[in-house]
Each structure stands twice: as structure tokens, then as C-alpha cells.
């Protein structure tokens, strides 16, 4: 269990940022679920609940998602269920239970760059941008590659395009962490293959994605892309699975995900 000396609920994001940077051990709170499992000693905890950041809406061709939006809202929101074959709702629906998802937040899931994150995997397959209070707006992939600093994730911007996508995962039991998760998307002829919970953070399999985006698709080509993804990415071992197992799993899940996206393409056009 974490401890905290003080807790503030600022009305302005400037104040939240000021307090965050005042002291090294001051920290932003998300839903506290992951925090609760550690023993972090927080000086001043900053709760963003009063900043009206819990919302999902459409703005200038983007789906805007506030940092304090719960994962349950991601799961049930009509807009997200109508876009990208509901890949975002699909990615979060197996995280523990409804009660858990009602209080954990999008901002914390993304900002913490958790390796096990199901949401980051799906977001990475879409054209997602992260908006930081100080760092400004940047593609999610750039944010993930940036060294960790002190900033506040304010909202996400997901471009509303005609992207077809799917999300698959393997869990040892329902509601456990993913042993491996995969998201695949297709925008016109451009494919993106993302693999997460390796158990390291979600990454785009760029060689496999590029290979798939070239020329005509065939069964052999799909098989090869899945093989390439398993080859180009690194996998690790933890209590949920070995690196070898994850690598084998990667090939299968990537292939299935590609086939699913192709199926979506045929049924919807």
C-alpha cells in the first residue's frame, strides 16, 4: 500500500502541474489500483477529479478522450463502439471486472506506459496522439519512446478515419493480465501490427507491417508477416509465460488478427 502525506484536488491544471513539479515525490493519482499494489511514498498526491477530464467526445475529426475517463466508459461509449470495429472497447473489456474498470483511468494507463497495458496496444494501432500539459501534442508512439519525465497527460486524440482494426489477447484465466496482446489495423492499404504484454511495452512490428502493406495479400504473405513480427520483436519471461511461448503465441495471434481485419473489410464493404 502506498502512503501519502497530503492530497490536493486542484481546480486548475496549472496548479496541478505546479504542485507536481514542486517536489520530487509529489505524484498524480489515476484510479490508484496499480499504485495500491506497491509501496510508493508520495509527498503530495494530486487528484485531477475536479478538472472535468472525464469525457469522450468528437472534436474536429478526432475522438477526444479526457485523461480521467474510466476504462468502463471506453468499453461502453457509443462513439468508440461505432469506430474501428470497436477495437478500443474490445481491448479493455477483459480487464478485471466492471467495478475495477469503473474507477481506473485512461490517463494513468497510458501515462504509466505499463507493459501489460491492453489499451496502449489498441491505441497504438490507431492514429492516436497524446496531449501533455507541458510537452504538448505528439503521436502516441513518440510519447512511448520519450524518457519518463514529470508532466500531466491531459487527453488523447484518436483520428476518426476509416481504419479497420481488431484486438486479440491470450490470458491464462479470464480477468488476469494478458500473456500477450495484439492489435492489427488497416487503413486503405496501410497495415499496422502492434504487440504488447511481451511482457514489455506494446510496440509496432514495423517490418511485418511494412511487408503486409506492399502489393497483393495472399495466405503465404500473411503467414510470413506473422512470422516476421515474431522474429523482429523481443519477448521476455515472467510468471505468466516464457519468452519462447510468447514468441510462438505472437505468430498465431498476429495471423488471426490479420485474418479478422480482412474479414471485417469484406463484410463491411
Amino acid at each position: 500500500m502506498f502512503t501519502l502525506n497530503d492530497l490536493v484536488q486542484p481546480e486548475k491544471i496549472e496548479t496541478a502541474y505546479q504542485i507536481l513539479t514542486d517536489k520530487r515525490n509529489n505524484a498524480i493519482l489515476g484510479g490508484c489500483a496499480f499504485l495500491k499494489m506497491g509501496s510508493k511514498r508520495i509527498g503530495t498526491a494530486i487528484d485531477l477529479s475536479n478538472l472535468k477530464l472525464s469525457y469522450i467526445k468528437e472534436t474536429n475529426g478526432f475522438i477526444e478522450i479526457g485523461a480521467m475517463t474510466s476504462l468502463r466508459e471506453i468499453e461502453t461509449h457509443a462513439l468508440l463502439n461505432n469506430y474501428f470495429n470497436a477495437v478500443l472497447p474490445k481491448s479493455v473489456r477483459n480487464i478485471i471486472g466492471v467495478q475495477f474498470r469503473n474507477s481506473v483511468t485512461v490517463g494513468a494507463s497510458v501515462y504509466a506506459k505499463y507493459g501489460f497495458s491492453d489499451l496502449i496496444t489498441a491505441l497504438l494501432a490507431l492514429e492516436t496522439e497524446v496531449e501533455l500539459y507541458k510537452g504538448g501534442r505528439m503521436p502516441l508512439v513518440d510519447f512511448l519512446n520519450k524518457p519518463k519525465g514529470k508532466d500531466i497527460l491531459v487527453r488523447l486524440w484518436v483520428k476518426m478515419d476509416a481504419c479497420k482494426a481488431t484486438y486479440l489477447n491470450l490470458r491464462n484465466s479470464a480477468s488476469d493480465y494478458s500473456v500477450l496482446n495484439v492489435a492489427v489495423s488497416k487503413l486503405e492499404d496501410h497495415w499496422t501490427i502492434v504487440v504488447g504484454a511481451r511482457p514489455g511495452r506494446a510496440t509496432i512490428a514495423s517490418k511485418a507491417s511494412a511487408a503486409l502493406s506492399e502489393g497483393k495479400l495472399s495466405d503465404v504473405k500473411i503467414q510470413e508477416a506473422a512470422q516476421t513480427a515474431a522474429q523482429e520483436l523481443s519477448f521476455g519471461t515472467n510468471m505468466r509465460g516464457t519468452a519462447e511461448y510468447r514468441k510462438a503465441l505472437c505468430k498465431v495471434l498476429v495471423k488471426r488478427a490479420i485474418m479478422e481485419v480482412l474479414d471485417e473489410n469484406h463484410t463491411n464493404h
Binding site: 502506498f2 502512503t3 501519502l4 502525506n5 497530503d6 492530497l7 484536488q9 493519482l29 484510479g31 490508484c32 489500483a33 495500491k36 499494489m37 498526491a45 487528484d47 477529479s49 468502463r72 473489456r93 477483459n94 478485471i96 471486472g97 466492471v98 467495478q99 475495477f100 469503473n102 474507477s103 479470464a174 480477468s175
Partner: protein, 149 residues
Amino acid sequence: MKITLTINDKLVTWDIEKDEMLADTLRSHGLLSVKKACKTSCCGLCTVWMEDKSVLSCTILSVRVHGKKITTIEGVQKAADEFARVLTAEGAEQCGFCSPGFIMNVLAMKKELVNPSEEDIIHYLTGNLCRCTGYMGQLRAVKIYLGVL
């Protein structure tokens, strides 16, 4: 510090620690239906409603419920009693330790889902662990209670 909240339709002001979790606050004020069993936010035993939505009270800082409406099973006795009768009639109740949290989530589901399928029910209740009764009996009882058998 002091927080003011509506607990089971009653407005109260409680003195809490800043890093106190809601489950502990509720128990220290006599709401002993709220149980804790996992330390990892995954068992669902501490389920209460915040603004009518199921949440894990073991994971919510009490300071965050200031100004909010919290409901525990003590506040929905009639509905809980009705479902508990179905649950026992189906033989789906043994030690009862997980029941308050489970029942709160079943009642929340009843309000949220319209005519749910078996899959919808299982999905909604995945976050409620039970180590002795067994899920088949519970599922049977839930279906009878919701009238979706």
C-alpha cells in the same frame, strides 16, 4: 480531514485520514457488509455503488467520495433480500462472505443491462470471485432473478 457524503440516502460528515480507502472508512462506521479479500483489486468483495455505479471500495480513496452518493447493501435491503431468496433457493450460497459485493454487482447489472445474454451476465460478474459456492449455481440464480432463463 472531513468529508461529507450521502451514505445509503443519509447525509453524513466523517473524519478520515487522507490516505484512507473507502472500504476501511465504511467498515469503521459500522457498515460491516463491506468485505476485503484480495489486496490486488480483483476479488470484488468490497463492491459498493458510487453514484449508482459499482466500484471497488478498497481502491477508492475516501477523500474522493466527498460530495458523492455511496450505497452499500445496507441501503438496498429490499432488493437484496429478494435476490438472496432466489440465490438460496438455487443452493448458490454457502459461506456468504462474497455475497454482499456479489449482490451489489448483480443489482447494478439489473439496472444497467436490458435483457442480458448468458455471456453478458458472465462478463458483468467476472470481477466477483467466489471460492466455495460455485459459479454455475450463481448464474442459475441470476438468470431466474433477471427473468432471462
